[in-house]
């Protein structure tokens, strides 16, 4: 049984996530779409906090809200005039998109709800400590992640070099 406060928090966060993600794909001003994306990412971070993964929520806010959305805003301001509207959707592409997304919603939603009985209430868990996270990230044993960690660092280096090379003025 959940407390009333946690249910209210849950409803607010989930409503914000759904409403802002719908707005982010339907608004015609591109800068507003980026702002709504920011709010959606905040709602996802709030979900991570609600599920006791504080570190993940902090990473979500730092990387997504602090890094990616800023990149989006800069690139939007570089490539379009503020106040530009995107052109009106043709009814063909809108119908196509609606069919694809509603079909997907139907199929996946039916698959989820038909197995709804398998989902039990949230089990007890202590939030993972930072020391656990550190040893899991830096260890080489089973269930530890040193190799992907190093691979990601090489990937980020390649990404830096690639970004500089691609976006450089010739």
């Amino acid at each position: 049984m959940e407390s009333v406060g946690s249910i209210i928090t849950y409803v607010i966060v989930v409503l914000a996530m759904i409403v802002f993600s719908v707005l982010a794909v339907t608004t015609r001003k591109i800068l507003r779409a980026a702002t709504y994306l920011l709010f959606t990412l905040f709602a996802a971070a709030a979900i991570y906090f609600m599920l006791d993964y504080e570190f993940l929520g902090a990473v979500q806010i730092a990387v997504y809200a602090g890094g990616i959305v800023v990149l989006f805003v800069f690139s939007i301001l570089l490539t379009s005039k503020p106040g530009d509207n995107s052109e009106k959707l043709t009814s063909k592409s809108r119908v196509l998109g609606l069919i694809a997304s509603v079909a997907m919603l139907g199929v996946a939603g039916w698959a989820l709800i038909s197995r709804c009985a398998n989902f039990t209430a949230r089990p007890q868990m202590e939030a993972p400590l930072m020391s656990d996270l550190g040893t899991a990230l830096m260890g080489t044993g089973a269930g530890q992640y040193l190799l992907p960690f190093e691979a990601v660092s090489v990937l980020l280096l390649a990404c830096i070099i690639g970004g500089v090379v691609i976006a450089r003025r010739r």
Partner: protein, 103 residues
């Protein structure tokens, strides 16, 4: 009222479908990238929810999400570099107007 896993999975499914809709209907490449971010983020939420509800005490889903966030950041940075480069040469970021290399 018990908040089970389904109460988190359905909103993230809706978020994913919004991403699909935006990816199909949008013409601006940055808007398509925003829809892509929505889809990626919905998948991340799913990983975390399954980890928390089915395997509490383990951290596989959490680390998968952590690495997915890092890779999404790298991918977005590269995609935006490509978009800016395209904009510089064609003054246009709409996919419908980009057919120079096609034929």
């Amino acid at each position: 009222m018990e908040i089970t896993a389904i109460y988190y999975l359905i909103p993230s499914l809706i978020m994913f479908c919004c991403g699909v809709y935006g990816f199909i209907t949008r013409k601006n490449m940055i808007a398509m990238l925003i829809s892509l971010e929505l889809m990626l983020n919905a998948v991340d939420v799913n990983f975390v929810v399954f980890n928390r509800f089915l395997f509490p005490g383990q951290m596989e889903g959490m680390f998968f999400t952590l690495f997915a966030i890092a890779i999404a950041a790298a991918e977005t940075a590269l995609a935006i570099a490509i978009i800016i480069n395209i904009f510089r040469s064609t003054k246009n970021v709409d996919v419908s107007g980009l057919n120079e290399m096609k034929f």
